[in-house]
Symmetry: C2
Subunit: 143 residues, 2 copies
DNA sequence: TACTAAATTGTAATCATTACAAATTAGAAA
DNA sequence: TTTCTAATTTGTAATGATTACAATTTAGTA
């Protein structure tokens, strides 16, 4: 059940610890781009001894090893995502949801931009998500 | 001297106030993507009565009116930029500088992405800037 | 010139994140 | 298997950006 995550950690020569496994599993099974608090409260249920600081520390370690990445899209808190295949993100300014956007962009794979060495690319789109647009229509129709 | 900024505010039916004019002028003359503190301390010198809260409020107003935009690229604080022509941003993880990147991307002008209504697009590139790369080389050569 | 809604100001929260030191533990070595 | 140690986890106490809020001031209109 955790073999997959054990392997990931070992492949990066990281110590295999319970918090790291649980965080990895959580991010792998919940592609909702959670913030630290969401991860913490979800895992705290099963592991009451878990510390918030550990979540911060573990996320930082996983990020440094490029196993996960953090998104600054919200502007007020970091959101986390498993690293799998390049994609961009959309945030709904109404409901706050962060949604994967599968697009390819000629600039994504450029390792040099304007003479600067690029190590990470993030495309952020902001607006109203499909779901919230439907709600809008519903409100209009119903008065 | 301030006519340009007066006009911008009036065109948006915003009240013309000293803080707004000064902030606009500052952003127009300093394309360094400053944070609130930088703007505040720079303007505080000339206008000792200026309040930090006013800087926050004014920036928010200017942002809502799409006169300026905020960047979440740093992850720890908002950075501000005058709205003029679509461009993306590069942040140097070494020196912290945020640099304009003039690129065109087919996704930039898309108003729909995956069914979501897009109102804002931001492309963030992270890595080592040209200047810091030169410094690296210098260090290597000298020792 | 007087009026009023909006803007400015200062102080006091709030909230995400970091600093730090003590306790625990994973994994290597014996 | 046991021992050892550096790395990790934990909890509490800062820090720092941002927001809330109430009092004061002011831009623009009547």
């Amino acid at each position: 059940m955790y073999e997959k995550y054990v392997k990931i950690l070992k492949d990066h020569t990281l110590k295999v610890t319970s918090p790291r496994l649980e965080i990895l599993k959580y991010l792998d099974e919940h592609h909702i781009h959670p913030n630290v608090e969401e991860i913490y409260s979800a895992l705290k249920k099963k592991h009451p001894s878990l510390s918030r600081t550990t979540v911060y520390n573990s996320l930082e370690t996983l990020k440094k090893n490029k196993i996960i990445r953090s998104l600054t899209i919200s502007g007020s808190e970091l959101r986390y995502d498993i690293e799998e295949g390049m994609h961009h993100h959309f945030i709904c300014t109404q409901c706050g949801a962060i949604i994967d956007i599968a697009i390819s962009c000629p600039n994504m794979d450029r390792t040099i931009q304007g003479g600067h060495r690029v190590e990470e690319v993030q495309g952020y789109f902001k607006g109203i998500c499909k779901k919230c647009q439907t709600k809008e229509k519903g409100r209009n129709n119903n008065g």
